[in-house]
Symmetry: C6
Subunit: 76 residues, 6 copies
């Protein structure tokens, strides 16, 4: 992952901010498990596991909090 | 999910803010598991699992924190 | 839950703020599992489960953080 | 718990703030499981469970964050 | 623990702040399980348990957030 | 770990900030389990465990929040 994948935390809308939060939650997984085929196998399991899906949602919530603050909550 | 589902974080009341937090906690699950029938099956299980319900409540709490800040805690 | 149950985040004392945090931690559970009799059954189990009690306390802590900020930490 | 147990979030030192955070982490457990004898039984188990001890520490960390902010990080 | 172990949240460098965060994450465990020999036994187990190590890291992250804010992120 | 590994929380880009967050999430593990060979063994297990990978991602999210604030969200 030497290319630029996160040039800014600014987004035009809250919804794009949320989508960025989802992306950020996935990058840490990729950096810890770089093998895409292993991740694919894991995904087949956890996408049918309610606890894992809720845990993913928790990570997204933390990142969304950061991105929302970075965008001054899209108030401007 | 190409339509607009999150135009703003502003709500009129704290209660509406809380309801928005519940919505945000669910979107990440939908984005990770897009198949509604799978989610329906999972829901039948986790809605009877205290640990899962508490975990959902935790995600809601994080999103509510973000939304409350975005609304300046409805002080205005 | 169409009635008003959260008109404001302001409370007179930190203690009332904490009690409101406990309330907020429970509402998400009610919204996810609306059947009171199911919740009653679950409660009989988790109120004797240390892990669940600590998890509940964690959700309360996050909500209390929000409510404390909303009240400017009751400094005024 | 009708008496006053949380009159203020202000403490003289960070250490007292930390002790208050420990107290706050326990109150939610008491409010969810009011029976002291049940809590005593649970405590005998979780105080020998590393996962539970770490989870308790996590709740304390969140409350300490709130209390530290309330005290302006004891900078004054 | 009647002596002074947390006189201030200020540290000279971010690294010292991180080390203080590690210390704070351990104090709550000590206050919940005061018996050093029990803690020693637990440690032998959890230091070989990836889930526990990650959970410890999570507590450290929350405390580091508090300490970083207390130090104005060492910008001065 | 007596050398300097965290001289500053400032980074030039959000992406470098994210990479620093990954680093910070690992340091607490190293400080709790200093034996590199034990960590290597644990890693072989948790890098194939979806729950552990999501938990790692959660720790990274908390650290990224701190680092993003420290950099004023790279707005300047």
């Amino acid at each position: 992952m030497t290319d630029t994948w996160l040039p800014t935390l600014r987004t035009v809308t809250p919804q794009e901010g949320y989508e960025l939060a989802v992306k950020l939650s996935r990058v840490a997984v990729k950096m810890t498990q770089p093998d895409a085929s292993v991740r694919e196998t894991l995904r087949a399991v956890y996408e049918k596991d309610a606890d894992a899906l809720i845990a993913v949602s928790s990570v997204v919530a933390t990142h969304f909090q950061t991105i929302a603050a970075a965008n001054n909550y899209w108030r401007d």
